[in-house]
């Protein structure tokens, strides 16, 4: 699974969970906090739960600072790397944030 595919699934999840269809088409570089997606403690928790259920990746346990939540791209790359490590094709497509 590529980072681009993960990013698309995250877009669909966020659009559904927040009722904001415009999130379906946001660029991968969009920040998840603040002015970008506007993630807060509640929607962030729901997103991390969804990622854990969908990909088996526990972001909060591996990433103290939650750097992976800097942008849609960085989160998708973080997830794809770990999913890829267990068999599927490697990560690509995300312009991972610093």
């Amino acid at each position: 699974m590529t980072a681009a595919e993960v990013a698309d699934e995250i877009r669909r999840y966020l659009a559904g969970a927040t009722g904001r269809p415009e999130l379906l088409t946001v660029p991968a570089s969009t920040p998840l906090f603040g002015r970008g997606v506007g993630l807060d403690s509640l929607t962030g928790t729901l997103l991390l739960r969804q990622i854990r259920e969908r990909y088996g990746v526990d972001v909060a346990a591996e990433d103290l600072n939650l750097d992976s939540l800097a942008s849609l791209a960085s989160l998708a790359a973080f997830v794809a790397e770990r999913v890829g490590a267990s068999g599927a094709s490697g990560a690509s497509g995300g312009s991972g944030a610093s």
Binding site: G44, L64, N65
Partner: protein
């Protein structure tokens, strides 16, 4: 209304059972400590039930192995919150009469978010829950006595929010959300202590221990009120649906080196998703800047349960120092999140009033 627990809903794998049912050649034995809790609570007339992602034979095994007659059992692969809801309905109990015990932090978060009325516990919590007021005739604060009413308001708010088209900020504005920060007084201390005990998701500390002076106890909050160089902040929340009262607070301490440290921050999970923790963090940054501090620090226990607080801190620009994010696991330790308070300051959410700040955006569009 009391917060008395009348039924405890138990997970099986690695909670009530000392192992994983489907992965064990021989069905795993009960956890000895929790089997004792089961019997102890049972003797006080508290019911037990099972919510397990296992075949029904696992529930039958648990009943045999513990000798406990479970009042209800839900075995299946759906959401635990749905299993808990069905159990409450089948027993004719309100959700606020239920506790839920699971070793999996995500299952706990799922139930806590979907069913905030339910008291959600880890196995460690459950092991000493017998001493908690929820399992004995409780001493309850005004907020706790009003819990049922507050949850009814919450349901009405959520229904409206679902029907409301537009961003969350617009809904909060329409709902007339008012967040009031202030300095705590003695009358606030029982509620602050209760929040320190009851809240898990937005709590920077551990549940207060038995030592009277431990952070989060009533005495600790009382001492902080009088301590020079320390401030005790309360957060209140209301909107057109109702008044949630005191939903959170924190204790801060200034040091001569120019840092403000948040010794403890607690916030009701009922307030989650309503901009309240964000308002508190933004105000703390602004207030520290007004006092001439350079840095705001939030020492925070890293646990699987307070991930929402870490999300709020990260979203507010805080960083944890000196911690390896190398995938080696982060649970069970303390990290200090910090943020420089120089440079552009965060804005307070609309409808927030706080010491040292202009009024709560009375000119805001749609203010009721």
């Amino acid at each position: 209304m009391t917060a008395l627990v009348k039924c405890v809903v138990w997970d099986l794998d690695q909670t009530l059972l000392d192992g994983v049912y489907t992965e064990s050649a021989v069905p795993p034995p009960p956890d000895p400590l929790l089997a004792g809790v089961l019997a102890d609570l049972g003797s006080r007339g508290i019911l037990h039930a099972i919510a397990s992602k296992n075949p029904p034979s696992a529930a039958a095994h648990a009943a045999r192995a513990t000798g406990c007659a479970f009042a209800a059992a839900e075995c299946g692969w759906g959401r635990k919150s749905e299993a808990v809801t069905r159990i409450a309905a089948s027993l004719g109990l309100g959700l606020d009469a239920l506790a839920f015990v699971d070793d999996d932090p995500y299952e706990r978060a799922e139930v806590e978010l979907a069913l905030p009325q339910v008291l959600v516990l880890s196995p460690e919590d459950a092991a000493d829950a017998g001493g908690w007021p929820e399992f004995r005739p409780p001493v309850v604060t005004a907020e706790a006595r009003r819990r049922a009413e507050l949850y009814a308001q919450r349901r009405r708010r959520q229904d409206s929010e679902r029907e409301f088209a537009g961003p969350k900020e617009d809904f909060r504005r329409w709902a007339g959300t008012r967040i009031s920060l202030g300095y705590a007084g003695p009358a606030d201390l029982p509620r602050l202590h209760e929040l320190a005990v009851r809240t898990h998701q937005l709590n920077s500390g551990e549940p207060p221990g038995s030592g009277a002076a431990a952070p989060g106890t009533g005495q600790w909050f009382l001492a902080a009120l009088a301590a020079p160089g320390q401030d005790e902040i309360t957060v209140r929340l209301r909107d057109r649906f109702g008044d949630d009262g005191l939903v959170g607070g924190c204790v801060t301490a200034r040091d001569p080196a120019g840092a403000v440290t948040v010794r403890l921050l607690v916030m009701s999970c009922r307030a989650m998703g309503r901009g309240v923790v964000d308002a508190l963090l933004a105000w703390l940054v602004r207030s520290a800047a007004r006092e001439g501090a350079r840095q705001l620090r939030v020492p925070c226990v890293i646990s699987d349960r307070n991930v929402p607080l870490r999300l709020a801190l990260t979203g507010a620009g805080f960083r944890a120092d000196g911690f390896r994010a190398d995938g080696g696991g982060t649970a069970g330790s303390t990290a200090t999140f910090s943020r420089e308070v120089t440079g552009p300051l965060p804005a307070l959410p609309e409808g927030t009033s706080a010491p040292g700040e202009a009024g709560p955006g009375e000119a805001g569009p749609g203010a009721a």
